[in-house]
Amino acid sequence: MDAKRKQQVVFTAIKTMSFLVVAILVIILGFIFINGIQVISWDFLTKMPEDGMLKGGIFPAIVGTVCLIFGSMLFAFPIGVLSGIYMNEYLKEGPIKQFIRLMTDNLAGIPSIVFGLFGMAFFVNKLGFGDSILAGSLTLAILAIPVIIRTTEEALRSVDKTYREASYALGATKLHTIKKVILPIAFPNILTGFILSVGRVSGETAPILFTVAAYFLPKLPQSIMEQVMALPYHLYVMATSGTDIEKARPLAYGTALVLIFIVLICNLAANIIRNRYTKTKK
């Protein structure tokens, strides 16, 4: 086989694989969309579940997920960003930094059910938070922190070093340089990491399973010490252990669609911010 022919074959193979990936995604999204869109209505989005969760809406689950996103990011964002700044700006290359990086990378790779168990053992029982928004948010925050640290580090690292030099050369201190020059430049990329972890957090089931999620709780939470329903867990319940699984199926698809919609919006927002940033930079 001559070189040209070989190239053609390889190229076709690569192209096919890429299309396959896109096709799988389109099929999954399409399947959920077609099955889910039928039950989506204003009532579905704003009403409490009724009739053994076979009728009514998923409003408390949406509210619960929003609470958990907000709560987890309240902890994860400042801790993650500050750690990222420390890692990239203050900690010198060496064994300590390598160790911390190894740990954060491992933390990011741990199966989420382990976080769930840890959350139950530590936040729910040891600290006595009980099944609550607080315990669930903290558990989700631990899950999100490594990702935020890493994206912050990357965002800071990709800031051209000439900006740092220019700032130092004008007599600025390190803190001033970070605050006024480096962070504003890195901010869109840090925000991208933040939004992506919101997407991740909103879809996680295992970490909230033992720490916050309620099977059926048709009311809105009054404090952070209460349980809530959440979209991913609600979906799991309706697909596996509802009162009538067959009859609940359309509602499950509807829930899945809402969940996917939230994640897609987050990813889309991240993309838009990144694109706008790269455009204005040039």
């Binding site: 900006y163 050369a169 007599g171 504003p184 204005t280």
Partner: protein, 248 residues
């Protein structure tokens, strides 16, 4: 005045500068020339302690600015850098407005009075021969300017904090000939009130703008003299070969 005595400099174990002795008189232009990797930029960056930012470097010897040892432990690096400004090879305005770029160093020094800031910014831009061009777009992003304008903005940014000395690291090497000649005119004007050290690869440029020239080779200062002596009557063979284009 800058006085450099017996300076050695190391990146890790690699010696980058070997026993450099040099002085730059007040209100003159000193050019550092030499082939790539000869240590000229390294020496330049020692004068405002920019090399402190690089891990694993070591400096020996003495550098004084107006009689003050700038490597003294008690020295305030931020104050030193306000006195010894720097212009870099690649124009590097911050992605902020033109006004905020020039005001940056002033704000660093704690100036917050709006009229005072405005005056100082205008003044610096006038000195950098950029005021007329940027006056209508003062509050637009600096990254929209052309390369040459950006570099003059960086000079204005540096001038705003009133440095006594200005270090320039190949300030025109990324610019077109017209922008380059504007920068060179600027250097000749600035030397009336500032001491300037300029690193350049362009020997014609050294000839046009500098009063004194130092030729570096492999971390050594080969020869330092008035610019006309270096170019017309060099004492060392290496210098002659370099300035006549036989190597480098």
């Amino acid at each position: 005045m800058i006085q450099i005595e017996k300076v050695n400099f190391f990146y890790g174990i690699q010696k980058a500068l070997n026993n450099i002795n040099l002085s730059v008189p007040q209100h003159s232009v000193m050019a550092f020339i030499g082939p790539s990797g000869c240590g000229k930029s390294t020496l330049l960056r020692l004068i405002n302690r920019m090399n402190d930012l690089i891990d694993g470097t070591k400096m020996e010897g003495l550098i004084t600015v107006d009689g003050m040892n700038i490597y003294d432990k008690k020295i305030d690096i931020e104050t030193l850098r306000k006195n010894v400004g720097m212009v870099f090879q690649k124009p590097n305005p911050f992605p902020k407005t033109i006004f905020e770029n020039v005001a940056y160093g002033l704000r660093v020094s704690g100036m917050s009075n709006a009229t005072e800031l405005k005056d100082r910014v205008e003044n610096a831009l006038i000195q950098a021969a950029l005021w007329k061009e940027v006056e209508p777009v003062l509050h637009k992003n600096a990254t929209n300017l052309s390369g040459g304008q950006q570099q003059r903005l960086c000079i204005a940014r540096c001038l705003a904090v009133n440095p006594k000395i200005i270090l320039m690291d190949e300030p025109a090497s990324a610019l077109d000939p017209i922008s380059t000649s504007k920068i060179e005119e600027l250097i000749l004007e600035l030397k009336l009130n500032h001491t300037i050290v300029i690193v350049t690869h362009n020997m014609q440029q050294a000839l046009r703008v500098s009063d004194y020239t130092s030729f570096f080779y492999l971390g050594e200062l080969i020869e330092c003299n008035t610019t006309s002596e270096i170019f017309n009557n060099p004492k060392q063979d290496k210098t002659r070969n370099y300035v006549t284009g036989k190597f480098g």
